[in-house]
């Protein structure tokens, strides 16, 4: 019974100390340094130009219809009267519900040949995030945890992996160390949870309390050499420091001017996108924003799309143009993903569309990806992939490659099983500019 527990605690201890600043740490478990430049082993494969430093991963929860959004089928009866419109990219059309995003299409690469076998929300969601099939004996890390593990955080004071509006099912860090899990932001307008004293507690009240608490805590800490106790003391001090630090402002979208805030709009998703941009600007490596609108449109497809698309359209467009204007798009890879598409044939009873993993669309922009580009093709009705199928692990491998992460480097889970980022997905090379 002896040593294992000790080994375990030692690791916990190392971890505990390393993650004192909001889960950021500078040393790996085995002591390797996480530098700014990723170590890419030469594998003899074509190495992509590493331009992307950060990722904003936009996740449309529920399974967003492809033909009603970025893979329209002009004139087909499946469209149920929805028109397609021209975009800033010659020859590329999108649905009429995305007029603002249409003007950004010269920056976007659409992948219209996404395909999967997972038609259940939870499983599709899991595959999209981890590139692995869900099993009950292990949880695989999401791409954000992989990215943070391999590349470290761009800002030593801020967490490297943040999830805005995430669902409780998000796989997080999976079997990896818990400090790699995304820090959840519940309400983008409220910023980092609990980072300010409650209303009514003035600064000097807070200072008095903290000082008094420190005074009282000393004896316990002195007679408790347990590392976890010391670690708690340290993070407490750090938390107080953070509350007073300027870096906290990275979480505060109220710092933005009125024009910028208006551009993103007042939807939760839009505010999440704005917060994501601020965080990226402050060096946060990986930010995921989930759209909490329900894209699971089983009923009244057209009505629901009319309700949901304006906020999505505005947010996409604002984010892309804002990143571009600030010169951040070169180094920031924006990805829009969802668990599956929706059946092109409308259900005659519910006027909605069912789950459709056989063909759907994701898109990418920035970070060294071609703009105004379409990869792959679905068939005339949008029912099946007609050309160049891409599976979710392939697309995640593309993201990893854009970041310069070695696709073949093996990671061993605590139970001794070997895994790689994006589960041997093949990166889609034509997407790179």
């Amino acid at each position: 019974m002896l040593n294992l527990q000790c080994e375990h605690n030692r690791r916990v201890f190392v971890q505990a100390f390393a993650q004192m600043t909001l889960g950021v740490r500078l040393l790996g478990l085995r002591g390797e340094a996480y530098g700014a430049s990723p170590a890419v082993k030469s594998t003899g494969k074509p190495a992509a130009r590493t331009r992307a430093k950060n990722v904003i991963f936009l996740y449309m929860r529920g399974g967003m219809s492809h033909i009603d959004t970025f893979d329209p089928k002009p004139g087909r009866e499946e469209m149920a009267g929805v028109q397609s419109i021209a975009t800033s990219a010659p020859g590329i059309e999108v649905s009429e519900w995305f007029p603002r995003t249409a003007r950004q299409m010269h920056q976007v690469a659409l992948v219209r040949s996404m395909t999967s076998t997972q038609g259940v929300h939870e499983r599709g969601n899991y595959l999209a995030h981890t590139s692995y099939f869900q099993t009950p004996t292990i949880t695989h890390p999401a791409l954000g945890a992989w990215t943070l593990k391999r590349l470290g955080s761009g800002n030593p004071l801020l967490p490297g992996n943040i999830l805005i509006n995430g669902s409780p099912q998000h796989p997080g860090a999976g079997y990896m160390e818990s400090h790699l899990a995304p820090l959840p932001i519940v309400d983008p307008a409220a910023g980092l949870q609990n980072s300010a004293a409650p209303a009514g507690v003035r600064e000097f009240d807070f200072a008095r309390r903290t000082k008094f608490a420190e005074l009282l805590n000393r004896p316990f800490l002195e007679r408790t050499p347990h590392r976890a106790a010391a670690a708690y003391d340290k993070i407490h001090t750090k938390a107080v420091e953070l509350m007073r630090s300027k870096d906290l402002k990275a979480f505060d979208i109220a710092q933005e001017n009125a024009a910028t805030r208006a551009a993103y709009g007042d939807s939760t998703f839009g505010q999440g996108c704005l917060l994501a941009r601020r965080l990226i600007e402050h060096g946060v490596r990986y930010v995921e924003v989930e759209d909490d609108q329900n894209w699971d449109t089983h009923n009244d497809q057209l009505v629901q799309m009319k309700q949901m698309t304006p906020a999505a359209d505005q947010s996409f467009a604002a984010l892309l143009s804002d990143l571009h204007e600030r010169g951040l798009l070169e180094s920031t890879l924006v990805v829009m993903a969802t668990e599956f598409g929706r059946t092109p044939k409308m259900n005659e009873v519910t006027s909605g569309r069912g789950h459709h993993p056989a063909a759907f669309t994701w898109w990418l922009a920035g970070g060294g990806i071609k703009g105004g580009f379409v990869y792959g093709k679905s068939d005339a009705a949008g029912d099946r992939v007609a050309e160049s199928p891409v599976e979710m692990p392939d697309l995640n491998a593309t993201i990893a490659m854009a970041l310069g992460i070695d696709l073949e480097q093996t990671e061993t889970s605590p139970s001794g099983r070997p895994f790689t980022v994006a589960d041997k997905g093949r990166p889609v090379m034509p997407l790179f500019a």
Binding site: M1, L4, C6, T139, R209, A239
Partner: protein, 789 residues
Amino acid sequence: MNGYRTTIAIVATWLGAAGFGIAEGRGAEPVDFERQILPLLYNRCFSCHSEKQAEPKAGLLLDSAEGLKADGVINVAKPDESEMLIRVSLPHSDESLMPPLKGGGQPLNEAERALLRRWIAEGAQTQDWRRFDHREPAVEYDRKPLGRTEVPRLAREMDAIVQKFHRANEGAKDGADQSSLNPAIDDATFVRRIYLDVVGRIPSYEESQTFLEDTSPDKRARLIDRLLASEGYVSHMFQWKADQLRVLTRGFPGQPGYKYDEWVKESIRSGMAYDEFVRRLVTADGYLWENGAVGFYQRDLGMPFDHMSNMVRIFLGTRLECAQCHDHPFEPITQADFYQLTAYTYGVSNLYSAAGYSTDNVPQWPELQKKLDAMDAPKGLRDFVSVTVAPLKRLTKDTPHGLKYPDHAPTAETRRGKPVDCRTPFGDEAPATVDNRREVLAAWMTSPRNPRFTRNIVNRLFRRVMGIGLIEPVDSLSPVNRPQQAELLNYLTQTMADLRYDERALLAVLLNSKLYQSECDREEPEPGEPFAMRGPLLRRLSAEQIWDSLLTLLVEGLDERKPRFNDRGMLEGSYLERLTKMSASEVLDRSKVVMEHHAARRAHSLELEQQRIALKQARDSGDKEAYAKLHKQFALVNDAFERYSLSLGMGGGEAPKETDRRWAGLPPSWLRAAELPTPVALGHFLRQFGQSDRREIDAFNKNPNITHSLAMMNGELTEAIVDEHSYLRAGLRNLDEGERIAVIYQAILVRRPTSDELAHVKQLFAESGTPEADLIWALVNSPEFLFLQ
């Protein structure tokens, strides 16, 4: 989220063995083959070089004394020329290194190599050992049952064994210290610890005061009994079991998932014996609302192998998952072993193909089809019939479905594509037929003769209250993993069987022991050093213990407060029971109602959108009166819809109002963690402190994170506790300053302030305008509050 909790499960035994090796290597004692060398061979060699393999690698059998004598393997005269020692000492870059890195093998460390070398140099003696018995023998058991009245005696016997161990250990070292435990704890420490360990929260001020004022000599034993019989015990025990069983109230789309949750709680409340509990889970069948235990078969995504891995991990302390795809790289467990075990449950409808979710499980289905055809029903109605009977499609039952070996490697060639016979991997053989295989499995698994079943639960319960298992990790039981305190584990294992698997009784033995009632070990064990427990380990409270402890300061009678749900409609247990018994025409009528409601709901959701737009326009126009009027008007419309839904049995509406005066005005979510729907949202206090998402076994973590400190300093619970109207502060009115300070200390830290602390507090009261709030805030934010000691 898993973090490093399960770290190095695979190397459990060798670390234990190496520990002995290092500790005892200093003396002149010769190496003990069975205790020190055999575990190394078992975990590092047997996977390829044992009789378990149809074709052992290089024809080498290292699992017998005979095999170890094979040419050149061991050279007693020149130990360094032994092939075995050479191969395990190669650099990691060398492909000839044993065990091979490529297969996931763990190279031997320096201490292990030294041990191996010393054993060889001493003549490579195997003493009486002839060959390794891959079928770990069953445990002979034939003893009379014991009742709870025996607990005091059992606790004394347990202490005697602990003493004996320490004496032997100390004697071996320097023969000095005979008092082997840490000093006994005082009543205040005891009452906090026992509440946290048994009920899962700190005691309220009244609870600790009642205990401290009690002068009877057996008050500790009586409190233990009382707490073990309380509703708080059910909550705390549920948390522990739910993490193992991965219970989710919201994890079953279209099914009343909360029924599994309720079943587990009721099994604890009713005192169901542990072996019975496992038997009912393993043999569960029926609909979820008839038998909540079938949740066990609905939780693993319909994957029979994964389900079996999880089952043996939690009930037998054994990890098999490696062997699903290939022979286990760290133990002589073959893929065939795993297949033979999985064959016992492979016929369960939920665990393969679509049989667990099928119209074949709907009793009314054939009759319904006839009726629909006769009336030439439109697709819409047919769809809604399907929706209405959907819960009935998910049925857990036995089918004749059999398992076959895969058609490809790595299974032995003779087996490929052939049917798999049920066979147990250790203990008694348990032949079974298609008709009785689950009953046979359950009987084998839960028998006291099973070499791992009782050991597993005892080791886990020991860990639960002592902070560390006698074997760690708890899921690394194997024939060679012998704990340092083997006698203690054997004694408790036998005691658990004698007590007929009464978990409360076994816990009572542990909790009444001197070992438990000693001051905790405040330092964690050092790697590589033998560790002899002198008291429970200091440890951070779980997320649930922290949440529940904070709520103890906010909610009177917390354990009794239960959630109040709104109508669950089509997932309500009573409705589902009726549905099961409906005739085909009743189902048809019901389907029409469901269809009607669906149409109305669609219309209503469009209406809601119109309302949203109208309200926005009214707000933007600045006409407050118009806005208020609209708001009122819409509320009426929406209420009417809710009433309409309820009248059709479609659920909804508001949860019933709180009627208990103690809880009037409190948020409905201020409940024991065990009562909150799971999985809990990200960003919730419980998730911040590492609560499991119940995706995997025990997927909680206790790693400190800055969000903890932020939540404790600025979060809503702390704010509410500090508030002058809180339950805690309401109890302070009419007390003088000294009394208030004493009560605050006792309520939060369950002790009196020291004289130094009192001096600081007095000064605070002299200087601050809000001393009470400051003191409460400081104590809630102390590390002492977060730890069990």
